[in-house]
Symmetry: C2
Subunit: 352 residues, 2 copies
Amino acid sequence: MKKIAILKGDGIGPEIIDCAIEVMDKIQEVSKVDFEYSYGKIGGDAIDNFGDPYPKETEAICKSANAVLLGAVGGEKWDNIESEKRPEKGLLRLRKSLGVFANLRPCKIYDSLKDNSPLKPEYIKDVDILIVRELMGGIYFGNRGTVVEKGLKTAFDEERYNEEEIERIARYAFEMSLLRKQKVTLVDKANVMDSSKLWREVVKKVAEGYKEVALDFMYVDNAAMQLVRNPAYFDCILTNNIFGDILSDEASQISGSIGLLPSASLGEKMGLYEPIHGSAPDIAGKNLANPLATILSCALMLRYSFKMDYEAKIIERAVEDVLEEGFRTFDLDSKNYLGTREITREVVKRIK
Amino acid sequence: MKKIAILKGDGIGPEIIDCAIEVMDKIQEVSKVDFEYSYGKIGGDAIDNFGDPYPKETEAICKSANAVLLGAVGGEKWDNIESEKRPEKGLLRLRKSLGVFANLRPCKIYDSLKDNSPLKPEYIKDVDILIVRELMGGIYFGNRGTVVEKGLKTAFDEERYNEEEIERIARYAFEMSLLRKQKVTLVDKANVMDSSKLWREVVKKVAEGYKEVALDFMYVDNAAMQLVRNPAYFDCILTNNIFGDILSDEASQISGSIGLLPSASLGEKMGLYEPIHGSAPDIAGKNLANPLATILSCALMLRYSFKMDYEAKIIERAVEDVLEEGFRTFDLDSKNYLGTREITREVVKRIK
Ligand SMILES: CC(C)[C@H](C(=O)O)[C@@H](O)C(=O)O
Ligand SMILES: CC(C)[C@H](C(=O)O)[C@@H](O)C(=O)O
């Protein structure tokens, strides 16, 4: 019995999660595995119901599960709430409480969607990047505050990492790279930041245990540039929380298919899976959302949390087939598209 | 008499600066203005000569000038020096000592170079962005250190801004936007960082004095994405030191002409002008470097430090003409190009 906590969240969250469940149900059917779903509230939805973006009830549900599937959080409705109570804060607390320190954001070019990239075809040939972003430290969780200093309102946020935090995410990146092209690029700002220098030091040490992996270093400004100019250069990008946030969004656009990009956030035992796109309140409830990133996040869940690589591939293959046969969602082709539910049906049909 | 301190720096620095001086000499000739040049060392060149990337001698030369023209700093040779003595540190100290808090990085598409962008033509139509980056604060100048905590090596860097620092750069952005499309986008991470929240607060207040300017807000991850997906959205981007570093490099690639992008760093009375590209040691001394960004940086110097807008336009027009007539540098067309000196001669010829 595999227990999955399901957090639909806000905006298009509920409808894309419903689609993902249809796919998981079909997987149960064809592979004779048992999933048990339990449902919790998060983000704005949880604020409206419990006055807290990550209530204790939800935490309990997640902690008694083997994996968590998340839709999306946030929306204008909650934008003016004080920051400790905002939907995003719920997401950060969720990550922390599950201990998921490794955020994996694959960015690949779907052959059938090549033309969707803003980049010219010759620039995106062979692009297949895995961003390994540290998710439980850095400026997201460091000291912060607002004080009055020499009569002036002053605010600060601290980037902070210790060697243990760096080592565990570095190991992750090297392990992942073994399954890929054996290349890790550490992205940092070591010409300015002390924390970056510690990253370099620790990552070099970890690299000694992975002689077959090529390690190189790149400043974050240069990386933001190379992602546009020569994205095929990268295999695994290893980086801190905030740089990973920025670079993974940039990379997703380069792929031309942000509506298709899943993510996995992993810790010692728990996995959190979510699409990398947001809650898109403007199209919520209209059967226009692209459910494929969430469906592909289920594939990552099967692979990483349940070691069901075979079934993961079945889902990934089904999605690729649907795209290759020319089916499109609204974000990919606003003239000729299938609705959220209809494209899901096409995927489900192809799972056997 | 206009006094210009000239810091050639490392790599291609000396040769591109020599070209810029040829252009300035021609401007002296045609416009009867007098420039007085004085030369100082910076970066690796200064380390080799004085054991310090920004020696007192250089500081004195800069401070007695009306404006500073800089080539580029850095190179592998100095990469293993301890961080307080690295070439980059010289650059940061230079900025601080001149009090240049506003870094202006224009990013425009040259009609004749449209095809050089990695982005498809329909994505870069009408792109003309001015990035206004805060240059004297934030994580570049905050507290940092490495300590042992609970037995673990721990490093930290602090992002810190007070309302005065934010206000002065915000005013700059609004003033600049008045000369453009009257639109300012503040880029921050206000859903996570306290300093970003202070930026929003202060910038909103400054905006009240500029009713004709449209102000909006964007998270930095989204901005990194929109620069690829819809760069024409932006007019002025106002942001902190580190986000400005990342986004301006990304934007420069989008333009397809990083070898052409100048920058100005301005303070109460001093201006520092430099190309945004680096020192490119691999092509140094080969007459291959593109001098146009440095030449265009002189145009910015004329405009901002000497109020010689007419002469600035003469330079800009000369560069555009050279490009429109089909002349290219090595970075733009590695098959059919003019050398560093030869393209400069073409520019000089067109200044009358
Ligand atoms: C919503 C926000 C706090 C979050 C982040 O910055 O981590 C998001 O951008 C993401 O990347 O998952
Ligand atoms: C060399 C480095 C310290 C510098 C910076 O980060 O400011 C450079 O990248 C720049 O943008 O001028």
